[in-house]
Amino acid sequence: MKTSIALPFALLLSVAATAVSADEQTELLFVRRIAPLLHEKCLACHGNDEAKISGGLDMRTLASMLKGGDSETPGLTAGKPKESPLYLAVTRQHADWSPMPPKEADKLDAEQISWVKDWIAGGAPWLDEARMQAIAKAHEAKWSLEDGTVMKTSGGLSQEWSNRKYKPDGLWAYQPVRRPDVETRRQGDEERNPIDSLIAKKLPAGLEPAPAADAITFIRRASFDLTGLPPTPEEVAAFVKECGGEIQTKRVRENADTPSPGLIISLSSPQADKAIASLIERLLESPHYGERMAQHWLDVTRYADSSGFSNDYERGNAWRYRDYVVRAFNSDKPYDQFIKEQIAGDEIDPDNPELIIATGFLRMGPWELTGMEVEKIARQRFLDDVVNSTGETFLAHSLQCARCHDHKFDPVPTRDYYSIQAVFATTQLSERAAPFLPVENTNGFEERTYLEKTLAEHEAMLSRLDAVLLENAQRWFKDNAKDPTKWNTAVEAASKPSTRKQGPAKRLGVYSDLFSAARIALTNAGVLESDFPPKFVGFTPEQFGLERVARKGLERLRWELDRYEPYALAVYGGRTRQYKTIFTPLRVPADRMTMGELEETCVLPGGDPFGSGEKVKPGVLSVLAAAQKSPIPDSIEGRRMTFADWVANAENPLTTRAIVNRIWLWHFDQPIAGNPNNFGSTGKKPTHPELLDWLAATFVEKGWSFKAMHRIIMNSEAYRRSATHPDLKTLADKDPIGTSYAVFKPRRLTAEELRDAMLIVTGELNPMLGGIPNRPEINLEAALQPRQVMGTFAAAWTPNPLPQQRHRRSLYALKIRGLPDPLQEVFNAPSPDFSCERREASTVTPQVFSLFNGQSTQSRALALANRVVKETRSDEEAIARVFAITFSRPPNAEELQSCIAHWRDIEALLGEEVPAAQKPLLEVRRDAIEENTGEKFSFNETLHAYAEFVPDLQPADVPAHTRALADVCLALLNSNEFAYVY
């Protein structure tokens, strides 16, 4: 018996192994290629959903295929591909048959099209399920060797998905990190940086790398990269000297064609090596290092000081997370620990405020729960956000594609998506108590007095409007000839101190609200609604508007005042409670473990929050289950901690590759793998896979230390290279897409660097670290632009009163999702609604308006002129100093001459007239459309912080000579040399 069963398989195998007939070839083609292709590309619309078959064409069987669809033409004609609609449609070239699949992104490649052609040409054989399985089994070994592999996961919704094969080149990111053997020895005994060996290995033949940059270029590059700030002239001079050169700062050389000595200092000497190494050490020790790295990290995690959407409430405590990130980088916190703290700090040590603050990461997405929707939907939005954000941030893997279905391209079943969601099913949002740490900057809390003044105004307004309503009520009774007795009694009762209430519970403010109290009392007493005055009786459109501005203004202040309190934007573990709306910060409830629903996560088909599929347990990406050392518990607490252990495990190849790819991007302005948030098969493949793995392995060996990686990368030859290649033609020919690293890629400064660099060259920058967000001056019209939030208007942007408060690094500027600083926005500061994997640097005209016409640069130019005049004794010296400060180099003779001439011309143009000084704006009149009435109304807003406003240096404060120099400074601050780092 046994032999007779085994025989057909043996035969089949032998047939497969030797020559096969053409018919058999076509059958094999069907099993191996056509059937999976139909499943992947066609059946979603042509068969899977019987109720909704697109164009009437059912592609599940040969019979239905031959029957055709609405066109009443057979879907194919066996033997004749060019007469077969199926073939014609997939070629996307035929006039009669629209391209299939319809989406360009789904189109078949040339090889797939040739399969369809060959299959039809070969007679379009269609095999039954049993035979297909037999053939597939017989060829399994050979085919998987050739076609790619099945990935083991927790399993998809269909068997086809679970068994599908992946081409190896799309799976690179899931493969274990392999440290490549690197040849680091070259002629003689000289050691070579492994990075350089790996780059040299991939350098196109015939392309020589550019020589090293000069010393000045290098110190600017390194300083901006590690601190986001330019070097001071003194730092530049010291570095040049260490490299063996000298800059002439006092006397400008006569000959314009000869660069001054500092400009040609070579970095190809042992002396320069030493100077570079010590420069890097100095920069890594700078507290500004943490600020610069935090900016990168907060781009990815979407930091903002407000919640976005309808109310755009401020997140008063978000700044503490921002400062936590700065501290983490400055102390070189090992990355694995950094990961664990951000995902599960509260579970690791609930008594350590630092770790509570760290979980702010989980709160970074925009979120709202308004009275307009049900909690379940809002809750699901949070869960979807946190799952995807965790994936993008740490794993370079967008997970949202698996929210509605098994991932189309990557080995991520939707089951995994919900397993990871289950990790967060007990994660609850909270503005949670966390005492201030000694290391935190708690300066400037006294600014709350401005908010308290606004609060008092709102209270007074509500009391005043209450009086208006009480008066209108009396008129109402008269006009409607109704008896006011019950009403008057109710008002009187409400006004007794014993019954007098503050605003509704949890709301902020003390004000009179007798009108509402009387209405409630009469409603409760069963008085007919028609027998007492309606809500807001007799209000004018203006009064409707004012009431809302005050009432909703109090609500908004509640969030802002939280800024000065020891709470953290964080989470806690617990059951899920029901909220109708969230209009006030949430504290951790005492009964968090017992009150509310213990969420049981299940697969939500199509991502519908009201759906219910298979129940899932907390888990990880199953394709990387090998890195999971212990199962995730089902208990309320501890899920995230165990999950974080998996993320931060050295064997998780996504995690380590993701972070070194980002570090590389931060230095070279281009990542090795082109999509730092997406290592999946649709993301760009690494240009230097071995280098990426070498970096990942080295990162772990060095104890997950960022600073160690900066040292290795920045001491490489690749990082030292000039941005100008001596042979541009060969470069363009051999490296058209610029990934060889034969030349250093210059970059435009980011929006924040641009502003910070301007502040430091004028000497105005306040280098203080951390603390509550500051409010620099932004374009005044934008600052006063009325901004609609739910039912009312957000307060105007009011800058801090003192220059030193305003002139802090851009990292600290209050980030309101609904009100980006136009200057920052126009220079590509990313919107915090999405994770920014990589900054853009576009060139658009509004940049000129902002940087050339805008008040901010005008003020900086004046401050720079004033500084330089004070620091020098002659016009020539002054110009030389401006160059040294802004460009880190002396001017050449021609530049000097042009600038001096310009200075004189402008001074002549200025004449005698002294410009008027800026007047602080104490009150702003707002025009708006009132929601209740659809009518226009206006209101005045007092800008309390302006009462003590000290403006920046004004043109009127300085002589015309200085004002004219400011125009020279303005030109330099607008120049390409200032805006680019090479």
Binding site: A105, N678, M790, E825, S842, F849, F852, L909, N932
Partner: protein, 470 residues
């Protein structure tokens, strides 16, 4: 080819080429080994095909959610149920459906307008005269019940913001006709809408596709002009010094095109500074035209100016103009609030249609009128006279005029209460796909590779609503 390299010379607020970027890119040599090159489409088929009539769009965004029940979708049934308690039968998906609620009839009487007999509340007196130019669509549904997220979905296809606005997509596909003006201009209210400038974002598309708001008050473009006291002569001199510094710098850094692009940009800005105020100046329009738009009349002046400016911008070749009006969020006092709002826009919008028509521009200009969602037939505890309506993502009225739309027809229907769309029901993504189709753009081809994925306005693809197209 590197993403940002591809755009390094795209210095203009508008476009450096009369062709769209897509078309322009397709002329560049493609490198098929890296996905970034996939932002270059496979063929130049995206150039507007001859069948498309619409070349420009004027998008009238009634922010806040106008009530279909009180404007273009009469519900006589509500007169019978007026102030009777509302009973919910289905699963609660919106918190507005909790608590005691009452059916509310429309305070407005309805008429049959034009030869087509379109339903209109009688206070659309002017619009009624051009009713036959309009195609009403009652089948649209959206996903969000909150303003900003619904606004984002209507304007950008994605509820969570951050994606490119429709105007950005259209310019990406078709390019701008005018080289010195942005291709996507927004005319917001003095107060920005909920969700802010993200409503006209370029999202992941190159920055030049961002909508440029021409502000209703103050400087139309922020910092368009230098601070007070800086003369043109002085500014010119400063520009010359920048140019001098930049020229020398560029000589030292050969092979970096972006430096030249940034230099050109300063000259363009200087020209725009002169030209924009001229473009925005409507004082030279004749008195009859101004009167047509209701300019000078308190109720209609503000929106009338915007509509007239929109016509001017379209004449100048601006591809996509979006006008904001509102807030139409009438939770209370619907009669008064909607009454005032309709009064403010009725005459200007009718004038826009009339004016475009008499200039022969209506065929090539698609007008879209919509809010971010419709409103409910019922209302919460605000009984008595103060009643209004709440948000309703399941029913709304959108209308189109010009641009090859199916004018003179009403497509789709809501149930007898106006609670939800029941006939010709289509998700907003289908409406977006249709809108692109009217412009000759195929949503499935109008894609952009970003963050490792092809993205499109409809998010995941949609179906053209054929009935909206003539």
């Amino acid at each position: 080819m590197e993403d940002n390299q591809m755009y390094r010379r795209d210095t203009l607020l508008g476009m450096s080429s009369i062709l769209g970027t897509i078309a322009f890119n397709s002329m560049l040599k493609a490198d098929d080994t890296q996905p970034s090159s996939l932002n270059i489409p496979p063929s130049a088929s995206l150039l507007q095909p001859s069948f498309a009539k619409a070349k420009n769009v004027i998008f009238l965004m009634m922010e806040g959610g106008p009530s279909h029940i009180d404007t273009f979708d009469p519900k006589p049934m509500l007169e019978k149920l007026h102030l009777r308690e509302f009973v919910r039968e289905e699963q609660q998906i919106s918190a507005m459906q909790s608590g005691k609620r009452y059916y509310v009839q429309s305070p407005f009487k309805f008429v049959k307008a034009g030869q087509s007999g379109a339903d209109m509340a009688e206070n659309w007196m002017h619009l009624a005269k051009v009713a036959d130019d309009i195609c009403f669509f009652r089948g649209c549904t959206v996903d969000s019940v909150n303003h900003p997220t619904a606004m984002y979905q209507m304007n950008c296809g994605n509820r969570f913001g951050g994606d490119p606005g429709i105007g950005a997509w259209v310019n990406y596909g078709l390019g701008s006709i005018n080289q010195d003006l942005p291709g996507f201009i927004v005319l917001p209210e003095v107060s920005y809408p909920q969700g802010g400038s993200a409503n006209w974002s370029n999202g992941y598309l190159p920055a030049k596709f961002q909508g440029t708001p021409l502000r209703a008050k103050g400087s139309p473009i922020l910092d368009l002009t230098p601070p007070a006291g800086v003369s043109t002569a002085r500014q010119r001199k400063n520009l010359d010094l920048i140019a001098k510094l930049n020229t020398e710098h560029a000589a030292k850094h050969p092979g970096h095109d972006e430096l030249a692009a940034r230099m050109d940009n300063y000259e363009l800005a200087f020209r725009m500074q002169m030209q924009v105020p001229e473009t925005l100046d409507i004082s030279k329009e004749d008195a009859k035209t101004k009167e047509l738009y209701g300019i000078g009349n308190d109720a209609t002046d503000s929106f009338g100016r915007k509509c007239l400016l929109a016509r001017k911008l379209v004449e100048k070749g601006v591809r996509f103009v979006q006008l904001y009006n509102g807030s139409w969020d009438s939770h209370d006092y619907i009669e008064r609030a909607h009454g005032n709002l309709v009064r403010g826009v009725d005459q200007p919008i009718a004038a826009l249609i009339t004016d475009l028509k008499q200039r022969g521009l209506l065929e090539s200009t698609l007008i879209v009128w919509c809010g971010e969602f419709g409103r409910t037939p019922d209302n919460g505890v605000r009984g008595g006279t103060a009643y209004g309506r709440d948000h309703n993502p399941n029913a709304m009225t959108i209308w189109l005029a010009g641009g090859g739309c199916n004018a003179g027809h009403t497509i789709g229907a809501t149930d007898e209460l106006g609670m939800e769309a029941v006939e010709g029901k289509a998700h907003i993504r289908d409406f977006h796909v249709t809108l692109l189709q009217l412009l000759g753009l195929d949503d499935n081809k109008l894609t952009f590779y970003h963050a490792g994925r092809f993205k499109q306005l409809s998010q995941f693809g949609g179906t053209v609503i054929k009935d909206l197209i003539s």
